[in-house]
């Protein structure tokens, strides 16, 4: 008995898989007859119809109107992604191409720019790449430069190649010697340390300077802490918006909220923020918190220079997307970007 029930279930799953695959390919509701023709399920259309009715009952597929084919629901895609699909690995030539394209990058900006374009091209969808975040990275070097007697430029360089600079207006003049001393002491303590942990290590620094210099030292440190903490400086790069035109027929209605979402960095950051730290995250249709993206799916993953992820990247497309292919591309690109970052 149990065996037969499982047998049945497996065929239903096969039907669902076939429906998803066909619908993704054709963009048209798929009927029982066409299904049997294209996939050799070994049963008749009538049987498939029964299964379809059951699948519909369970909410995995849905009919636009009586006497039309079936379309997968968000729930159906979810099941497909979780249990029926395998991430499709990139082919060797594709991997070589990715590698080659990313290797040409000259600096961090370029890496991110190339990555996002590459991802958009590979998936033919909208790609989003977050800059390696400050909070996960470590200090490579901190530089202080006197521009004027009371004006200091602060430069923060991270191990991910990111450079932040600030102007500091000091109360009173700061001697070159004091500045050099401060620079040396800061670097001695901070280099190699994770950004959020830096402030704790510099606590007792003002006390080590002459009373006259202390105000200036304090201001410089305050600015440094500010630069370290500024999470909302997180930047994002986008590409492939033109691919939105391939979205669907009910065009302006679907596309407008998506375009609006894409303009709001905050929304995109939150979107990527929901990505699990390890493994790939797929958010389908209404699973997305942001309403404007209710008819889209987001495939995202963390990437990083070493073992751990310092930022996220992903792809936004219609719920009707090629999940295995998209996931394969996203994973491959994330992996290679990680390697590039580790090398530089």
């Amino acid at each position: 008995m149990a065996g037969e029930v499982r047998q049945l279930d497996e065929r239903k799953l096969a039907v669902l898989r076939a429906i998803v695959q066909d619908y993704v390919g054709t963009e048209e509701p798929v009927g029982s007859k066409a299904l049997v023709e294209r996939h050799n399920l070994g049963v008749s259309p009538a049987t498939v119809r029964n299964d379809m009715a059951a699948l519909e009952e369970d909410g995995f597929i849905h009919q636009p109107h009586t006497s039309a084919g079936r379309i997968p629901t968000d729930k159906g895609y979810r099941l497909f992604v979780d249990r029926l699909a395998e991430v499709k690995p990139m082919s060797a030539p594709e991997r070589r191409a990715i590698r080659h394209f990313l290797d040409g990058a000259v600096d961090l900006d370029d890496v991110v720019a190339r990555t996002v374009r590459l991802l958009a091209q590979l998936t033919r969808q909208v790609a989003v790449v977050q800059y390696p975040s400050l909070s996960r990275s470590t200090v490579r070097h901190i530089e202080l430069v006197a521009l004027a007697p009371a004006k200091v430029m602060l430069v923060l360089i991270t191990n991910t190649g990111r450079v932040e600079q600030r102007m500091v207006d000091c109360p009173g003049t700061v001697g070159e010697v004091v500045l050099a001393d401060l620079r040396a002491r800061i670097n001695a303590r901070a280099v190699g340390v994770r950004l959020p942990e830096v402030p704790g290590l510099l606590d007792e620094l003002p006390a080590m300077f002459e009373a006259a210099d202390r105000p200036a030292v304090t201001v410089v440190l305050a600015t440094l802490f500010e630069a370290l903490a500024e999470q909302n400086e997180e930047r994002i790069m986008l590409a492939g918006t033109a691919n939105l035109t391939r979205f669907g027929h009910d065009f302006p209605l679907t596309i407008q909220p998506v375009l609006e979402a894409l303009e709001e960095q905050v929304i995109l950051l939150r979107l990527l923020g929901e990505t699990a730290d390890a493994g790939m995250t797929v958010r389908i249709g209404r699973e997305n918190a942001y309403e404007g993206l209710n008819s889209t799916s987001v495939v995202s993953v963390g990437y990083g220079s070493g073992d751990e992820s310092v930022a996220k990247l992903g792809v936004i497309g219609p719920t009707r997307m090629d999940y295995p292919g998209t996931m394969g591309a996203v994973r491959a690109v994330a992996r290679y970007v990680g390697q590039i970052l580790a090398e530089s």
Copy 2:
């Protein structure tokens, strides 16, 4: 006689103006009767029809099909912009709002970001703002920092607040003293000078150093020149793509090439590059060199911190746009950005 011909021409122009205004408002071909109703032209529909026939003969308007109203052609819009429309000044509250919004900016990135968003909101179209270009700005400071024995970081700060940094791999070790010397000499010559003119002033510099240091000095200078010259580093910021959805009915066809164009910084830069240095430039439909923008108009203008323009900004919208209003907004925003830049 001549007087009567002029009289006639003026009415024709009035008719054209009315057609443009109505069409921009309604998006529908405008007929003779409706025209007479909405504008008090003081003549009958039949007369207007005669004028319309003449205008069509001259290529200023055009009929989608017999027995439909008329639509302005690119040539018609051109005439409208050149002779029939006046730039519509912003109202006092609008100006205050612009001023207030831009005043909140904290650094150059922020100024540009706010400007582009503001412009998109005001015009309800796609806004494009070019970062103050390197070639027009002057050197405020050049800094050299030794990160490792053979690794130097070069930082270039311009009077517009822009900061560029490069890593330099030197052949052999560079002493701290040499570096300080080089820094001092470079700054002494370059500060306050326009970027493109800097290389010429540093020609004889290598000769002033010991033979052993010369290779390193040469490499540093080469990198600096590269940073100075790198015109294609010109960056652009975009906003308001969601406004494209209000474009028209024949949607995907029109919008796709536009989205593609917007993704290509090169195209946008060329677009802005065609802006006349002084005064506002309006490119209508096929006047745009880039084919994908053949059904759009571009309104652009230079802006700058002082008298002269250091960069361009503009708006991209359908040829059927509110030219007076758009031009007014573009002009006002450019003016205020200029002021903000001059102040900082």
